[in-house]
Amino acid sequence: MAGPRVIIIGAGPAGVRCAETLVAAGIRPTIIDEGRRDGGQIYRRQPDNFTRSYSTLYGTEAAKAAVLHSCFDALRERVDYLPETLVWNISERVVYALRLGKLVELPFDALVLCTGATDRLMPVKGWNFAGTYSLGGAQVALKSQACAIGRRTAFIGTGPLLYLVAAQYLKAGAGVAAVLDTSPWSLRLAALPKLLAMPRALFNGMALTLALRRAGVPMYNGVTPLEITGSGEGGVSGLSFKDARGQAHSLACDAVALGYHLRPETQLADLARCEFQFDAATRQWLPRIDPDGRSSVHGVYLAGDGARILGANAAEASGRLAALAVLKDSGHPVETDVVDGQRRILARLERFAQGLRQSFPWPAHFAANLPDDAVVCRCEAVTVGELRRVVAQTGATESNRAKAFSRVGMGRCQGRYCGNAAAEIIAHAADVPIDQVGRLRGQAPVKPLPIAIAEDGA
């Protein structure tokens, strides 16, 4: 077959639009996704046996979800689609995946990583009790399983997802104990000019807040989380926090959903040996890309939230741009005004995303005040105090070094959940700038890999 072998990882808005653009140019890409159905995170399709309506599932985004799904359906005959397939490694221009227990090896000429985002988490004392979920986890439970994480869930953290998921719980009839935002209101006002880059999204956000207020859900801004209370056997029983004026509150709940906006899922980019650079605005390391998504590695491209947290609309634009870059680099004719058009869309959305970052900042300073007995790494059960002790006694001021001595980030999640916070704790304890703490090096497999894979595979 003619044309380059293109593999797209991720069938969310970025991956789908990337595929569509490639197919239009006569290329038959392979799309791999871990999920059972296409759609990605926000437009994830429900399992076949569920029959909820688009508006129930996707609310204000129902129309966009429908368009993306039908776009994908129309592509089905012209792409090779591998659902329920986890890519666990990339090496020497071959993608290694696990598909229904079997090994799949796929060589590529061009690889577009559209791997999306996951919640960015900051520990709070007691978050290791059963019943504490990330906002994303809470949403997935509702979206794909149609069940809530608790009967009375407290939502804490910051970012648009905080309000969105709380509102979705409310709408589904699940109890919402409170919505506790760590960002003060004043930041949202200051960011208003940028947020107006997308008036409809701004309006939707305000509508969610209003709905929660109308339902009488207690809502606070500028809070400081203190502790999730509970027990090993019984799980979560309550939550305490300080309000913006410094007054302490506690409330009863049987589940907590928490998250501080998002972090890109960059492990595959790391395994593909892409270079990273420190992004001061979000205090995290991001793969270095050019405006169209080309990484530092020839033939490897990035799009969507897996490259930059710019949201679903931007994911569609950057997915198209990455496809255009693939086409251009493999000698296909590409019209410059098409590229320019997508770049303009992206620039407007970038402005909105800046507004969101400004409104809902990552509360780096919480790391300094975490009590020593709070757990930082839940996989390996390492406390904040132990990490601080390692930093003080061994002089480990770099993430991988601190990991080697403390086990923080050595567990199942490979530091996906604790890495950002651990870096802040190290930076504070060692009194070094956060960028000098570096980032945890990605190591295969992306998720735990069954040893039995060889049996069915090779």
């Binding site: 090496s91 020497e92 295969a444 735990p448 039995a452 595979g457």
Partner: protein
């Protein structure tokens, strides 16, 4: 600026860090210089086997000397480096029964050299090591071997050396060494210069760079052994385990740590890039380990692995290190290229090199490691 001491050591892996520690015990002033952080290369990422059995008989004296230090480690370095002396078993498969005879023969020779081994077969083997697959024929068990946490050992030696007065300089790459009059002058990439009448090169896979500067190039190549680790499961396998086989693919070893994870190593090695200080695991090699595990310990194949890794290790054609004085330059000493086995030897290497430097001789024979040996010049 130039800083002076009795001895400059280049490379703070386990060899250099232990040498600094033992030189301080003998009263020498020491400057230990490391490009990155102490123990960050092979010494910090290896499998962690502290195994004597199976080594060449003529290496056992050095290995035994290291073994004494391993058992005293907490007392020496003042911290727990997670040394677990719960034994080591090497096994062979049914299709190679002649290896059992080799085990017995080796055990006889080893006993004379102070290493007690026990041959275990049949029901005794099944009872004591119930995790072995049916294809395992028998093994050789060494009760006084074990394993340790490599991430902790070299840094602990470097810290202990520092507490005892050594100058430990990290994040400092030495580019050039030369002998100016009586002293060696070592120049770092950041412009710092160090001088001392004695220079010890413990630069691991990068040692050739310095021996070459003194007219002694050696055929050192680097490879990356293949490692992975499982999720934690209840702690039940106390001893370290390894397969003896002439077939590289069948080579496999594992150990469990009290936290519960099982660390697995062995099989074909990976490409290694000394210039990048990285070695990348080829997925095929990980999959080969999975396949081999089915034969060695089938129950373990129910587990998931969490992580794979490798590291840059320097190998000589005869798989023996270079250790001892330079042939061209007085006051210059080498200890590098441990060819896959330098973790266990490390404390012994430091101890012997300190003795050699401080007294001019060693009570442990190391002449087979001479840099001028024919095996090195033939291919150089």
């Amino acid at each position: 600026m130039t800083a002076a001491s009795d001895v400059i050591i280049i490379g703070a892996g386990i060899a250099g860090s232990a040498a600094a520690f033992f030189l301080r015990q003998r009263g020498c002033s020491v400057t230990l210089i490391e490009r990155g952080l102490a123990g960050q290369q092979a010494s910090g990422v290896n499998f962690g086997n502290v195994r004597r059995q199976g080594r060449r008989l003529e290496h056992l004296a050095l290995s035994n000397r290291a073994s004494v230090s391993w058992r005293r480690m907490r007392e020496l370095v003042g911290e727990d480096i997670e040394y677990i002396q719960e034994g080591h078993i090497r096994i062979c498969y049914r299709d190679r029964p002649e290896l059992l005879d080799n085990f017995a023969e080796y055990a006889g020779e080893a006993r004379v050299r102070g290493l007690e081994l026990e041959i275990v077969t049949g029901t005794a083997l099944r009872q004591r090591f119930p995790f072995f697959g049916p294809d395992v024929l028998g093994g050789s068990y060494s009760a006084l071997d074990g394993h340790a946490n490599p991430r902790l050992v070299a840094p602990a030696f470097a810290r202990a050396a520092k507490r005892n007065g050594a100058e430990v300089i990290e994040n400092c790459e030495i580019l050039q060494v030369e002998k100016a009059g009586e002293d060696f002058l070592a120049s770092a990439a950041d412009g710092r210069r160090f001088h001392a009448p004695i220079l010890l090169v413990t630069a691991g896979a990068w040692g050739n760079r310095f021996s070459t500067q003194f007219g002694e190039p050696v055929p050192l190549v680097s490879h990356g052994p293949t490692m992975c680790v499982t999720e934690p499961v209840p702690y039940s396998i106390r001893c370290a385990v390894g397969v003896v086989t002439p077939v590289k693919e069948e080579d496999l070893y594992f150990r469990q740590i009290p936290r519960g994870n099982i660390i697995i190593g062995g099989g074909p090695r990976n490409p290694s890039y000394p210039d990048l200080c990285r070695a990348y695991v080829m997925p095929r090699n990980t999959l080969n380990q999975f396949k081999q595990l089915r034969r060695l310990a089938p129950e373990l194949t129910r587990l998931n692995i969490l992580r794979v890794w490798s590291g840059v290790e320097g190998y000589f054609p005869d798989e023996q290190p270079v250790m001892g004085p330079s042939r061209t330059t007085s006051g210059l000493y080498y200890a590098f290229g441990f060819s896959g086995g330098g973790f266990q030897l490390g404390p012994g290497v430091g101890d012997v090199m300190a003795e050699l430097i401080a007294t001019g001789q060693t009570t442990t024979p190391i002449d087979m490691f001479d840099i001028g040996r024919p095996a090195l010049s033939a291919t150089a």
